[in-house]
Structures are given as C-alpha cells and as structure tokens.
C-alpha cells in the first residue's frame, strides 16, 4: 500500500516563490500517513470480507435437503451449516459440519467439509483422518485412501485406532503386507488393543502365517473374551493349524457370544455423538444410563422424542432418567404416557411400579410388576427386579417365581441368589435357601449380609456350629448387623 513510505518533499505550488523551506515536524507528517493507512486498511478489510463472502459462496457450503429428515437431524445440519456461514475461515466449523453430515451418512457432503477443514488447518490431524475414513466407506480408489491415512498418521503417529482403520482399509484393497504393518504398529502403541490382535491374526492367516495368526487371535480372545468374531477367526486359524478339536471348541464358543464390530475410537465417537436419529439416541441413552450418566442420557432421549414423540420405549427410558434425576412428576407423566401407548411396555411397568411403591401404593406396584414380567418373560434382569420388588412387598411366592424366571434367562449374579435365598428362607424353605445363599457367597465371599442370611438359614436347619461361624464372619465384615444377639441366642440353645 505504500503507507508510511517517504514520498519526498511536498511539491511547490506554482504561484509560490521559492523560499527557504523549514522541515515539517515528524508528528505532523504522521497524520496523513496514518489516515491513509486507516483508509486503505479499511478498504482492504472490506475487500477481504467481500472476497471471503464470495469465496464462501464459491465454496458452496453443503446444503443437503432436510425436508424429509426428523427435526433433530434437520436442526443439527442447519445449525452446523449456519456456523460455517458465520465463520467460513474456521476449520472447526467446517469440521463440525462434516461430522454432522458424516454421522448421518451424507458422505459426499462430509468429504467436502473435511477437505475444507484440512485446507484451513493442515496441522489438525482429525480432518484428514475423518476424510480418510469416509473416503474408505465410499469405496474411493485404494491409493487415495492409503495416502489420506498416511497423512493423518504423519500428523499424529501415536493414535492406535488410526493405524487399525488404516490396516482395515488396506486389507480391503488386498494390500495384506501393508495392513499387517499397520496392525503391528497399533499394537506397538497399545499391546492390549484387542481388535488389533484380532485383525492382525486375520491378516496373518491370509498371509499363511498360521502360527502367528493363532498367537494373536488367542491374545484377542484373552483381551476380548465376549467377542464372537474373535472366536470365529480363531476357529479358522486353528483349523488351518491342524487343530480340529481346538477349531471346534472355538466355533462353539463363538456361538455363545455376540460379535463386536465397533472400533474403540474417540474421534469417531465424537462423530457418532452428532447422530440425532432416534436409534442412535436410544443406543447412546442406554449406554449412558448403564454408566449412571442420567443427564446426558436425558438429552439423547429428548432428541429421540423430538423426532418420535409417541415412541413408548423412548418415553419409558426418559421416565427412568427423570426418576433418577428426582423429577418424579415428569417421570410419572412419561411413564403413564408410555403405558397408554403400549400397555405391555415392560420397562415402563417396572419403573412406574418403583414410583408407586415409593408412594406406598403396593397393590398398583404389584399389578404393574406382574404385567412387566408377563410382557418380557425372557428378560432376566427385569425378572430379577420384579422379584426383588415383590419380595419387598411381601409376595414371596411371586418373588420366587420371578427369580426362577431370571435364572432361566441366564441371570446368575450374587444379588439374584441372595434375594432368592432370602425369599425361600422367609417361606420356611431353609434347605433350598442355603443352596442359593452358598452360591451367592461363592461369588461374593466378603459380603457380610450374605454370611448373616446364610447363618440364619443354617440356624433354622439346626446346623448351629456352621451358623455360628457365619454369624461371626458377618460381624467382622458388617459390624452394624445384630450379630452379637444372634450368637447369644444360638448359645442358649
């Protein structure tokens, strides 16, 4: 702009006679210069803004049609898009829009956004990594996908999930040796990464390194003992190794387990968090509820119900959240509405029963519990809860039946055995009670209440020495229990 550049002495006006010129003070000189700078700077900024706007328009911010989408999804996309329009130079806003599109499988739009974000911030590995993942899902040419992963790993070489996904992409392209290297790198970073062991085992099998495959798949089996996919792969590897019996065992194990598909990847989790569809909201809500994150779960359920306001399951789950958040009035409203829409919604029945019981309405609670267990006879956890509530309400026979259902459905924890044993004891079936309480103690040997209850049952069977031993142990583990009185009573006998 030339601002501040010395423009030489001022020109003489023609009518002036040359006179001796007194130098102008520096400060006086600065004023026009500064003014020029300000004017030019302002013009420059205006031009930059205009260029930016036209650049944004030229960049064509993705604008997927949201007319058919549920409200939360449409809103998420619109909000992210508006953020880009407001801050088109921000890699973060582009990346966020990319993530929202990615989460809803709008891969063309996601790719464009991640690419923009990369252009604006080449140092943030997330954008190139996410672009690699999405391009892989789109079936892009192998070299392009490999290059993107390589770029991501150059920026962030210490992120094991990226090595795993890179390996998966290479494997899909048939580049087995490169895939092997990627999985091995993931394991160097995290030797307990079960999925990397699993996938490395698979690729070693493809490369005819059978013993290596078996080794890594057995590692995976130790680290992820509930993953059916591991055992399926192990079955194949053992067969190839000539261990037919081992292959058969692994195949039987696989049949008893569930497959694990998700890669533990915080960056992809963050994308998944943007998914505002009802199924995703429900899934996240359940996971959060299991962890006791009731507020976060409630947010997911609010989204779910915004998209599906008459979803009885969504209402039931939110009712449970609200109950744990002590908003009992709202909880009741959701649960009652859920049951109005779906009278046999077992989850709603149980949660509403809890509310009723807390308010002293035992009969209504009992009706709801009965309805719940009839609606979901195969749900063992539900049956266990039903049994506990029935027992607390005094319906011991009902409680025992519910515990039996829970056991048939595969529930075998100490809580079930304890409650079951206790109910049987109260019904006068002390011998059966002992069996269950002993089973519970195997699982929780340091549980004072269990020792106490078992001692009580043993006393009923007149096995006084053994009873005394368990009373004493109960006293050591749970000093608040009335052990001393019970021991005195035993000695008197």
């Amino acid at each position: 702009m030339g601002a501040g550049r010395d423009r030489g002495p001022p020109r003489k006006r023609k009518e002036e006679r040359p006179v001796a010129v007194t130098p102008v003070p520096k400060r006086a000189k600065r004023v026009p210069i500064v003014t020029a700078v300000l004017v030019l700077g302002g013009a420059g900024a205006m031009l930059a803004w205009l260029a930016q706007r036209s650049e944004v328009e030229a960049l064509d911010v993705p604008d997927p049609s949201t007319s058919e989408m549920v409200a939360p999804v449409a809103r998420a996309i619109r909000t992210a898009r508006e953020a880009v329009l407001a801050e088109p130079r921000s890699a973060g806003t582009w990346g966020a829009l990319g993530a929202v599109c990615d989460a809803h499988h709008l891969y063309d739009e996601a790719t464009l956004c991640y690419r923009r974000a990369r252009t604006l911030d080449r140092s943030d590995f997330r954008w190139v990594y996410l672009q690699a993942v999405v391009r892989d899902l789109q079936g892009a040419p192998g070299d392009e996908v490999a290059d993107l992963f390589r770029e991501a790993l150059r920026l962030q070489p210490g992120y094991p999930p990226a090595h795993l996904r890179c390996g998966d992409a290479l494997l899909r392209q048939g580049r087995a040796e490169e895939a092997r290297a990627a999985f091995e790198r993931a394991l160097e970073l995290d030797p307990t990464f079960a999925m990397a062991h699993r996938n490395l085992g698979q690729v070693l099998l493809a490369l005819d390194d059978v013993s290596g495959a078996v080794e890594h798949l057995e590692n995976a089996a130790r680290l992820a003992p509930d993953d059916a996919v591991v055992f399926q792969s192990l079955s194949q590897a053992r067969f190839r190794a000539g261990d037919a019996a081992g292959a058969e065992r692994a195949a039987r194990e696989a049949e008893r387990k569930q497959p694990e598909y998700g890669v533990p990847d915080p960056i992809r989790f963050a994308v998944d968090e943007q998914n505002a569809t009802p199924p995703a909201c429900e899934r996240r809500a359940r996971e959060r509820m299991e962890r006791g994150e009731w507020r976060a779960a409630r947010r997911d359920l609010d989204w779910l119900l915004e998209g599906r306001p008459d979803d009885p399951l969504g209402l039931a789950l939110r009712g449970r959240c609200l109950r744990h958040l002590d908003d009992l009035r709202s909880a009741r409203a959701d649960l009652e509405r859920s049951l109005a829409l779906q009278p046999k919604n077992a989850e709603a029945c149980v949660d509403l029963a809890s509310l009723e019981e807390a308010e002293g309405k035992a009969e209504r609670a009992g009706e709801l519990l009965l309805r719940a267990s009839e609606a979901a006879p195969e749900n063992g956890e539900l049956a266990k809860r039903v049994g506990a509530l029935l027992g607390a309400a005094g319906d011991l026979d009902g409680a025992v039946r519910a515990f039996e259902r829970a056991a048939r459905a595969g529930v075998a924890d100490a809580e079930l055995q304890c409650n079951w044993g206790t109910a049987l004891r109260r019904l006068g079936r002390a011998s059966e009670a002992c069996e269950h309480l002993r089973a519970a103690l195997v699982l929780e040997p340091a549980n004072g209440v269990l020792h106490y209850n078992l001692a009580d049952a043993l006393e009923a069977l007149e096995l006084r020495d053994e009873a005394a031993e368990h009373f004493r142990r109960a006293g050591e583990l749970a000093p608040d229990l009335p052990v001393a009185q019970r021991l005195q009573a035993l000695e008197k006998k």
Partner: protein, 551 residues
C-alpha cells in the same frame, strides 16, 4: 421326449436367430436391451404402501427355463403383490404372456424360483419360494404346470428366499435346499440415518434355520432338515449354490447369509452335513466380521481350475471373492482382484460369473439395488421414495489371473440404468452360443439383454456344454465339466441355482478365444463317475450323455 441323448449340437433360441456380429469394436456396448422387442413386459409390484414391510424390498426373482423342452427359453418372473408372469417363447422367437394357461399364475407373495425335474419325467418343474408356504409346480410335459400343494411335502413355512435342487445322496433324484431369512414381525419399525422410516435390517428379527427336503420319488419330498443337521445353525439366508466344493464326489451347499456368517455345508456322504464355513475361510470377511451376503455364484475366477465363490454384499461392504486354495480352504481376494472397493457404494444382489466375450475367462455382472435409503444417483427415473434405493449395476471384465477391470462402459443400459435390481439369470436366448442376461427389479420391469460382446469367428471360438443322464431323463445338476484346449484347462459346474432368487438353464459356456480345437471334455457326474469325451468340436452346443464317454 426321446429316451436317447446322442452327442449332438442343438440350437436354442428365443429371439433373433444368428445375429451377425460386426468386427470387434472394443468400445461398443456388449449388452443390448431387447426387452420390448422380445415381448417381455413383466413389471414387479411390491405392494408397498409406505409401511416399510421388509419383504417388499427383497423379492424380484426370475428364471430362464425351457418349459416345453422345445429348445426355446421361456421366462418366468416372480411377483410380490400380484400374479407372477410366465412368458412362452414361440416359433417366431418372440415371448408371449401365457401365464394363465401355464398354471404358474401364482398370486402369493413370491420371492424366487428354482427349476429342476423333480420326478425325472423329462421336463422342468418349478419351485417358488414365498413369504409364507412355498409351492411346487409340476410340469405335465407340455409346459403346463399344476401346484402340487401339500402333497409335495416341500411347502415349508416362514419366509424363504433362494432355493436349489441338487442330488444330496446320489440316488438320481433331485433333493431341495431352501434358504430362509428371518421370523418377520411387521410391528417393528426402523429408521435410516436421517431419522426417516426405512426398512429394517435382518438383525432386528430372530434368525431361522434353512430347510432340506429329500426327494422320495415321483416329486414327493420328506423333510430331512433335522436328520441332516441343517437346523443346527440359524441365520438370515439369501443366496445358495450347490456343488462338490471339497471334490470328494458328493454335493455340498454354500449359503450366503445377511449379517451372519455364511455356511458351507459339507456332505457327510450319509445324508448329514456339517458347517465348515468358518474353518474353510468362507464364513466371514478378511477382517473376521460377518457381512451382509445377498447373492452368490460359483466359477473359476483365477484360472486355476478350482471353483471359487463370489458373494455380493451390502453398501459399505466390499463384495467377496473367495478363491479356492484346495486343502487350505478359501481366501477372500476381492481387494486385489479389482472387484472389492469399487463395489462399496452399492448393494449387490443377483450376480453372474460367465465368459461373456468368449476369451477364456469369466467376467462378472452384479445387479445392484439398495435396501435402505441412499444417495440419489444421476439418471434415476423411479419416483420417490424408490429413487433413493435405485443403483446402477456393475460389470467387470476378467483380465486374466484373477484380476478384473470395472467396465461399466461396456454394459450399455445393463449398467447405465439406475434401478432396484435383484434377480439375475443367464441363458442363450438368441442361440448364438453365448449367455444373455435377464434381470428382475423391485417396482420395475424385468429386463432382457442380448449379449453382443465381440465374439465372432474366427477370433473367439466357443463351446457350450449340457450334460444329461438318460436314466434320469434330465440335466445332471452338479456335474463338473472340464475342457482341455490349446494347453489350457477350464472348469465349470452345471447348476441351475446361483445368483439371487433366480434360476438359469444348467449350461457351461466355454470361451476359447483363438483356440480352434478342444481336445477333450472331462465330466465328473453327480454320482462320482468320471468320463472323457474326445474332440467335441468348437462353435457349437453339445449334449454329453452319461455313459457315452470313455472312462
């Protein structure tokens, strides 16, 4: 039908006869649509009313068969809502709707057909799978069919998909394997990634085991599912092929499952089967995860004379190419083959691996169409909401040694149309010695494509083989045919059931390229017998008769 089958060459036609082929033009489309001129006007109806009932998106099976044994291929299109349609090929080579007279006007919710001679009386019978009990239509010898009803013993129940006839016990009678999907509950609702209502996936419903029916004679079947051990595994089955995959002389069964591990039922030679898919490497993808298997076909795809398996999959899952490695089992080689990642944007169903250009190796067609909302491909002509399920088909040219090049530009409208394709069958409709293609759609017309790949003599010779058993009066389904020509060996298996919900005439089309002589044809018959037929000639269709060859 005459009892004797001399080794003869026969002509098969149902359209133009002797279509002249111009000089090789490498950029000209290989497939020419002849739907309208052939007279085929069947349109599939799913009965959809916006409730997203899963069976609506899964049907569309088709068959090419010679119902009257007159040498002309007829067409059968199975419908969902509304009657299935049968088209009889007349003397002029044109198809005419003869549904009512044929007896194949099946008004139940159909999935797909399997064709085979169940009573060994010399004519083709048709088994149709349904959402509900299945039906066996028995041919009276004149190309008219009657529903055998419950008398067949092979009705089954639940939701069946693909089916295949094969001789499991080598008694000369065709037994029946019926693939089943899930126990469907229409009260379940599912959503796509935009939160819109959409079709559910199979994992939402309980899986079911398949069915196996043993033919007791005269087309009467007995349920042998439990005795065979088939009920030991429950999954969501879609495609099936039957062949002797472990080369022990007994027919095995491979089932492609949707979101579950595939099954390879290896014959125990005593009527029992054991699932060896896991151990033999054909159950899962390379990363050990089950995929959504839809259609399946069997062919030697890497020119090593072993039969390989090609399985089509869901979008975002590459199609699977399981190369047979003999005793070591199979290995998924889709990635390096060129047919892996390119298939990821699409959901594949029907498929064929045949030598369309007669150069000596099998090329691959994949019929695509989504099962959940997807992107709207350019050129789609279907109205909403079907427009977001429509996809273009894929065509791969085999470049030798197990490597394939995506060559959609050679497909003509076979690959340029954007529709919801499902079934795919192949047969020599115009009697020029190469396989033509019939494709079924969801909510769209069945389409017939004539193969016009550059193949005219003298550059590319060919040999078409049919194997028949005079005692059984039918095609020897499961026969393995191997030719030796110009120092190369090629192998194919004769089967009428492969692809997805479809049936094709059991023929082997061998492309010979410039080779001008076939030294011999070796056949391993379904009962294990091996025979050699010398010097069958070239550029002709031959019928090889059991017992007429040398051992």
């Amino acid at each position: 039908m005459s009892a004797g089958f001399p080794v003869i060459f026969v002509a098969l036609s149902c359209s133009d006869r002797g279509h002249p082929v111009a000089a090789a033009e490498t950029t000209r489309a290989w497939f020419t649509e002849i739907t309208d001129e052939s007279g085929l006007d069947s349109v599939h109806s799913s009965g959809a009313r916006g409730e997203y009932r899963l069976p609506e998106i899964m049907g569309g099976g088709v068959a090419l068969l010679d119902a009257e044994e007159d040498g002309d291929l007829d067409v059968y299109c199975v419908n969902g809502a509304g009657s299935s349609r049968f088209y009889r090929c007349g003397a002029s080579g044109r198809l005419a709707d003869d549904t009512e007279a044929s007896g194949l006007a099946d008004g139940r919710y159909g999935m797909g057909p399997a064709v085979g001679d169940v009573d060994n009386d010399g004519d083709e019978d048709v088994y149709v799978t349904h959402f509900g009990p299945n039906a066996l239509f028995v041919n009276d010898g004149e190309g008219r069919f009657a529903d055998a009803g419950a008398h067949s013993g092979a009705s089954g129940d639940g939701w069946s998909t693909s089916a295949a006839f094969f001789d499991l016990d080598r008694d000369g009678l065709l037994d029946l394997y019926v693939v089943r999907y899930v126990t469907y509950d229409e009260s379940r609702t599912c959503y796509d990634n935009a939160g819109q209502r959409d079709y559910c996936g199979p994992r939402v419903f309980p899986p079911v085991h398949d069915l196996l029916f043993r033919n007791t004679g005269a087309g009467v079947f007995r349920d042998a599912t439990h005795a065979a051990g088939i009920d030991s595994v429950a999954a969501a089955g879609m495609g099936v092929v039957c062949a002797d995959l472990d080369e022990d002389g007994w027919q095995d069964v491979y089932v492609a499952n949707d979101a579950y591990a595939n099954q390879l039922w290896i014959s125990g030679k005593d009527g029992t089967f054991r699932d060896r898919a896991l151990q033999l490497g054909v159950a899962l993808g390379l990363n050990g995860q089950p995929r959504a298997g839809m259609g399946v076909t069997i062919a030697d795809l890497n020119d090593d004379t072993r039969l390989d398996l090609f399985v089509t999959h869901l979008r975002e899952e590459a199609n699977g190419l399981f190369l047979n490695q003999g005793e070591r089992g199979f290995r998924d080689d889709a990635g390096p083959s060129g047919m892996g990642p390119s298939s990821m944007p699409f959901t594949g169903f029907g498929t064929a691996a045949l030598d369309f250009d007669r150069d000596g190796d099998a090329d691959v067609i994949v019929a695509n169409g989504a099962v959940v909302h997807g992107k709207r491909f350019p050129g789609v002509a279907l109205p909403a909401p079907w427009d977001t399920y429509a996809e273009p088909n894929l065509f791969y040219v085999n470049e030798g040694n197990g490597r394939f090049r995506q060559a959609d530009e050679l497909g003509g409208t076979l690959t340029s149309r954007v529709e919801i394709s499902r079934g795919l069958a192949c047969g020599d409709v115009d009697d020029d010695g190469d396989p033509d293609v019939l494709v079924g759609q969801i909510e769209g017309p069945a389409r017939l494509y004539r193969n016009d790949a550059p193949s005219g003599a003298p550059e590319r010779h060919w040999l078409s083989v049919r194997c028949v058993h005079p005692g059984w009066k039918r095609d020897a389904l499961g026969a393995r045919v191997e030719i030796a020509a110009c120092g190369r060996r090629q192998v194919q298996v004769l089967s009428s059931s492969w692809s997805y919900l479809s049936s094709s005439p059991p023929r082997a089309w061998f492309g010979l390229g410039p080779c001008e002589r076939v030294d011999q044809v070796d056949v391993r018959w379904p009962d294990g017998r091996r025979e050699r037929f010398a010097d069958p000639g070239i550029d002709r269709a031959v019928v090889l008769v059991y017992g007429a060859g040398g051992e």
